[in-house]
């Protein structure tokens, strides 16, 4: 945690340097604070489509530019698109193109979400006419840039759990402004021209006597410049002070200063093979490479020139498209040669298809149809329809999970986000199979709730984290065998525990409405289903937990280390064993089984999410912030349910008398 805060402080300090960018320093077109500039241009759809598929190396993996744009806008604004004041929808990729190629206009777009106006108070900005939570344009925040960065550096040293909302808000705003500034100044080098009028002839001669050159011209001539310097200094690095060396040094300093900010996007595949040179280059590192490297980078320098062409033609859609296509084709050719491109179109297709969103909507529809069947159970068409829509929703989610496996060449679960998808899909599948067996509509209803709730949670989690959901993994997790066995089985165990808890809610509710007396067969069926799901869950939880121990034995040299995440998995196993043994021993009956299964659901939630919040243990890579509130809400609701169940159970046992006349299965006979 300490390292993180110091890194954050260092990053914010670096951000302060970005204000020297001509655009960000206000040397470009400046917006009138009173009237935000309406976006005066638009990108050709085919250009946007083309650039969405552009491969980039970001956070250590090759991904499409679309993914970078989506998550960047999600982080700053909380959505994947925004609307201009005149109602035009701007997709994330279009917004990113605005920021890169028209930063002066991007500064006027209200994309910065401020969750609490107290943050603006803290940095000394006014917010008249705005709501408490509202959106702001960069130019509105820019006057407080220095103050924001200074405060953020101070707050970065406060441990995350000790920060108040304003401190956290300032930090978030600072990192968002830093990101924006990095992107907005990324192409400063491409806008830059170097006049040659005052250079000596021997230097201008290298550039064919042109009156001005571009950055790519200087980078392409790196070896000639180097050679000229050696000749001028007669082989000595220092000591010669001539017109040529002075001009040369000035050019190199300018070049270094101009390309300094061009580090955010690694757009250029490295020369050679991916194994030998895995790290792609940004314009800054390409410039450095050109002057120092031992391998040719002509292809990449040519791309640098195309990037300048794109910048020059940013106001001419047709010319921009032509340049963008040249850049795209050159990039794809280099990436394909390194075997790094084939997954990029799949990832673009995954995000374009938006399968998880459609799955969420389909589960919502399935839930509505299922609710309809509660009031009209004889409407066969609705019953079949609800079941059909659920299968469609499940198919969409499964297709999405499969595409993610293909993109990352990994088993279905390797991040917390993926656990939500997988738990949901498996839970719905088990519910549908159970419905196929029982045909009472219970599992279908519960499955619809689980499907909708799960996909909604996945959606909210992705929005909240606003980070690539297919990241690289830390070294210990980078093993497909254990991800496929231990992680998958444990997650199936979570799924079963949640499903059993949901079905048990139906039982407890039914019991409160007297269904044990009025519909005993229905209630028994609920118990049988719960019991079956618990057995299914126990199988996967126990096997998954032991497999986790075997993995730990292979990785860390011990089978069991009482680590919080290990203990969480053990708690699920122990609680399910308690339920089943208590049931077999006759200590609990149907109602008790339901109540204990609801508690089991809480145990699953603690193991799945809660232990990550403890901030301790070897599984700290599962740590996530901001879910404490959600867990408290879930815990409170379940607490109320359990309290109500307890009161109901007490009244029910009193009403039944000392002999216990409530219809239940005889003790010791498992259903």
């Amino acid at each position: 945690m300490r390292t993180h805060t110091l890194l954050a402080a260092a990053a914010l300090a670096a951000a302060a340097a970005l204000v020297t960018s001509p655009i960000l320093a206000g040397e470009g077109p400046v917006a009138d604070a009173a009237s935000p500039v309406v976006r005066a241009h638009s990108w050709l759809p085919e250009t946007v489509k083309l650039l969405e598929e552009l491969p980039v190396q970001d956070d250590g993996r090759i991904k499409p530019l679309r993914t970078v744009a989506d998550f960047q806008l999600l982080k700053i604004r909380g959505t994947r698109s925004h609307r201009t004041p005149d109602g035009v929808k701007v997709k994330a990729a279009e917004w990113l193109l605005d920021v890169l190629f028209h930063p002066e206009h991007a500064k006027t777009q209200e994309v910065f979400t401020i969750a609490d106006d107290a943050v603006l108070h803290a940095v000394g900005l006014g917010h008249e006419g705005k709501k408490r939570r509202d959106r702001y344009a960069y130019f509105e925040l820019e006057p407080a840039f220095t103050r924001i960065m200074t405060l953020a550096q101070e707050y970065a040293h406060v441990e995350a759990q000790n920060r108040d909302t304003v401190q956290q808000g300032v930090l978030t705003l600072a990192t968002n402004m830093r990101d924006f500034a990095e992107l907005a100044s990324f192409l400063d080098f491409a806008r830059r021209r170097y006049p040659t009028a005052e250079w000596p002839e021997r230097l201008t001669g290298i550039f064919g006597g042109r009156t001005e050159i571009r950055t790519s011209d200087a980078v392409a001539a790196s070896w000639q410049l180097h050679g000229l310097r050696l000749v001028e200094t007669d082989g000595h690095q220092h000591g010669a002070d001539t017109d040529v060396t002075r001009a040369l040094d000035g050019l190199l300093k300018d070049l270094s200063r101009t390309t300094f900010a061009a580090n955010r996007l690694a757009l250029f595949p490295a020369p050679g093979t991916a194994d030998a040179r895995p790290t792609w280059m940004s314009p800054a590192s390409l410039t450095e490479q050109a002057f120092t490297a031992d391998v040719p980078v002509e292809g990449q320098i040519e791309m640098l020139g195309i990037l300048e062409d794109m910048t020059d033609s940013a106001d001419d859609p047709a010319a921009f498209h032509e340049a963008a296509k040249r850049f795209h084709d050159a990039s794809v050719a280099l990436a394909t040669g390194r075997g790094e491109y084939e997954k990029v179109p799949v990832e673009v297709a995954y995000y374009r298809a938006d399968l998880m969103h459609w799955s969420l909507l389909a589960f919502g529809l399935a839930f509505l149809l299922t609710a309809w069947t509660w009031t009209a159970p004889r409407l066969k068409a609705v019953v079949i329809g609800s079941q059909g829509v659920m299968w469609v929703a499940l198919a969409l989610a499964t297709a999405g999970i499969t595409m993610r496996c293909i993109i990352r060449s990994r088993p279905p679960v390797s991040t917390l986000y993926e656990t939500i998808l997988f738990v949901t899909a498996v839970g719905v599948l088990v519910a549908l199979i159970s419905e196929r067996i029982g045909r009472r509509g219970i599992s279908r209803s519960v499955g619809a709730v689980l499907g909708f709730g799960g996909m909604f949670l996945a959606n909210r989690y992705e929005m909240h984290e606003a980070k690539d959901t297919m990241p690289n993994l830390v070294a210990v997790l980078d093993t497909n065998f254990w991800l496929a066995t231990h992680v998958t089985t444990v997650t199936i165990g979570y799924s079963a525990g949640i499903l059993a808890a949901l079905i048990s809610h139906v039982y407890v509710g039914g019991s409160m409405f007297g269904l044990e007396r009025r519909a005993p067969q229905f209630m028994k069926s609920l118990t049988r289903t719960t019991y079956g799901v618990l057995c299914f869950g126990l199988l996967f939880s126990v096997v998954g937990t032991i497999l986790g121990g075997i993995w730990a034995n292979d990785s860390w040299g011990r089978f069991w280390g009482w680590d919080p995440k290990e203990n969480g998995a053990l708690l699920i196993c122990l609680w399910e064993l308690i339920i089943l043994h208590a049931r077999m021993g006759g200590y609990i009956r149907d109602f008790g089984l339901a109540v204990m299964s609801i508690i089991g659901g809480l145990v699953v939630v603690f193991s799945w999410w809660g232990v990550n919040l403890l901030g301790i243990g070897l599984h700290s890579y599962g740590f996530t912030t901001g879910v404490m509130g959600v867990l408290l809400i879930v815990g409170s609701i379940e607490g109320v349910v359990l309290l109500a169940a307890g009161v109901h159970g007490f009244l029910r046992s009193r009403a039944a008398g000392p002999t216990g006349a409530t219809p239940t299965l005889p003790p010791g006979v498992p259903v």
Binding site: G60, W280, N567, Y587
Partner: protein, 394 residues
């Protein structure tokens, strides 16, 4: 007597005992997880999981609880008596029976591991400039020992070891004396501290123990990570037959042992982590940390080592999830450093070393448990489907 035996048999085979034990295991596992927020995993393990009983204090209220060691012992008995011996043997309970056998096997493996495994680490340095590049022993993470060695003039070393268990838990005011016929003196230790620091007496601010050669030992709170503790103690060598006394402070962070001359004989006394020999040597040839491209996130850690055994050498690569298993010992890639080393700086690589006779038991018991639970689940599912079909056709 028979009634008593039957009563005990009924108790130990009962569902009630199983539920009670499982419930206490659940509670202790939860408390042990929660307490890790405040104290080290090692201490939590000692208090909750390796103990036969404990007193848990919350809000000043002492709550006596059984320890996990006791619970697992009772659960094993309950499983064997109730879940294997007395369980009704039929096709309906076949899966449960198999699963119980698997769990008992796993618990037995755990018992063997707990009592006979050796766990520690071996740290080797590239090119050997800043530490050993080769080793044939490993050190415990938590256990201590005092090593008394005689250094004969003709070479070689005769070592006597006092295991940490015999002194590390001494109360501050207590002393312990160790006697050996092979030594011309008795060894007395006192003021043992699990975590400590040696400071000049002038800086102790009244907090240290007796002053020896101007220094004193200051007791410190234990670290959150117990392996970072530096134990310390006072030691007195009392020559037999009423001879001279020699006092010293032993501290785990001392680079060199305390050396005492007694007449013509020279002895060294050292407090260090417990060590175990391995029947081969490991030489670190190269360590590599590879990050994901353009990031500081590690993609892999790996060490190229040479194993030397009986004159034969073998080049081996050890990396995350790919340990070296040999002669009953397993070496895992577990650490490296210095963390912020400049490029080209020689690095060190730390291997966790484990000798566990029950190493493969969890895997086999996992197969057995999985088979048992699968059989039971499929049986239940088939019955459930049949019951639902009967209902549908009725």
């Amino acid at each position: 007597m028979k009634r008593l035996l039957n009563g005990l048999l009924a108790l130990f085979s009962s569902y009630g005992l199983a539920v009670t034990l499982l419930f206490f295991l659940f509670v202790l596992t939860f408390l042990g997880t929660w307490e890790q927020r405040f104290t080290s995993l090692y201490e939590v393990q000692r208090q909750f999981f390796d103990s036969t009983w404990l007193v848990y204090r919350r809000f000043g209220v002492p709550i006596p609880l059984p320890g996990v060691y006791l619970l697992l012992t009772l659960l094993s008995i309950n499983l064997i008596v109730g879940g294997i011996v007395r369980i009704r043997k039929s096709s309906a309970t076949f899966g449960i029976l198999i699963a119980h056998v698997g769990i008992v096997t796993m618990l037995a493996g755990g018992l063997i591991e707990y009592h006979s495994s050796q766990k520690g680490h071996m740290t080797l340095h590239e090119n050997g400039q800043r530490g050993p590049q080769q080793a044939d022993e490993f050190k415990s993470y938590h256990e201590w020992e005092i090593v008394v060695a005689e250094i004969p003039r003709q070479g070689g070393v005769i070592e006597l070891v006092i295991p940490g268990k015999q002194f590390i838990d001494l109360r501050p005011e207590a002393t312990a004396t160790f006697v050996s016929d092979e030594l011309p003196f008795d060894v007395t230790v006192s003021r043992v501290a699990r975590n400590s620091r040696v400071v000049p007496a002038s800086q102790a601010r009244g907090g240290g123990g007796p002053v020896i050669d101007g220094f004193t030992l200051v007791d410190l709170p234990q670290m959150k990570e117990a392996e970072q503790d530096s134990a310390g103690l006072y030691v007195t060598l009392s020559e037999k037959n009423g001879g001279a006394r020699h006092d010293a402070i032993l501290w785990a962070m001392q680079d060199l042992p305390w050396v005492v001359e007694m007449g013509a004989r020279t002895y060294s006394v050292d407090l260090s982590r417990r060590r175990w020999k391995v029947p081969f040597s490991i030489v670190l040839d190269d360590f590599r940390k590879v990050d994901h491209p353009g990031t500081m996130m590690p993609a892999s850690f790996e060490s190229d080592v040479t194993k030397i055994e009986g004159g034969a050498t073998e080049r081996i690569n050890i990396s995350m999830n790919r340990p070296l298993r040999h002669a009953g010992y397993t070496l895992f890639q577990s650490g490296w450093g210095p963390q912020n080393a400049a490029p080209g700086t020689p690095l060190f690589s730390t291997f966790s070393v484990v000798r566990n006779p029950a190493d493969s038991v969890p895997l086999w018991s996992c197969y057995v448990i999985a088979a048992g639970l699968l059989i039971h689940f499929v049986q239940k599912l088939v019955r459930h489907i049949q019951a639902e079909n009967r209902r549908a056709t009725a």
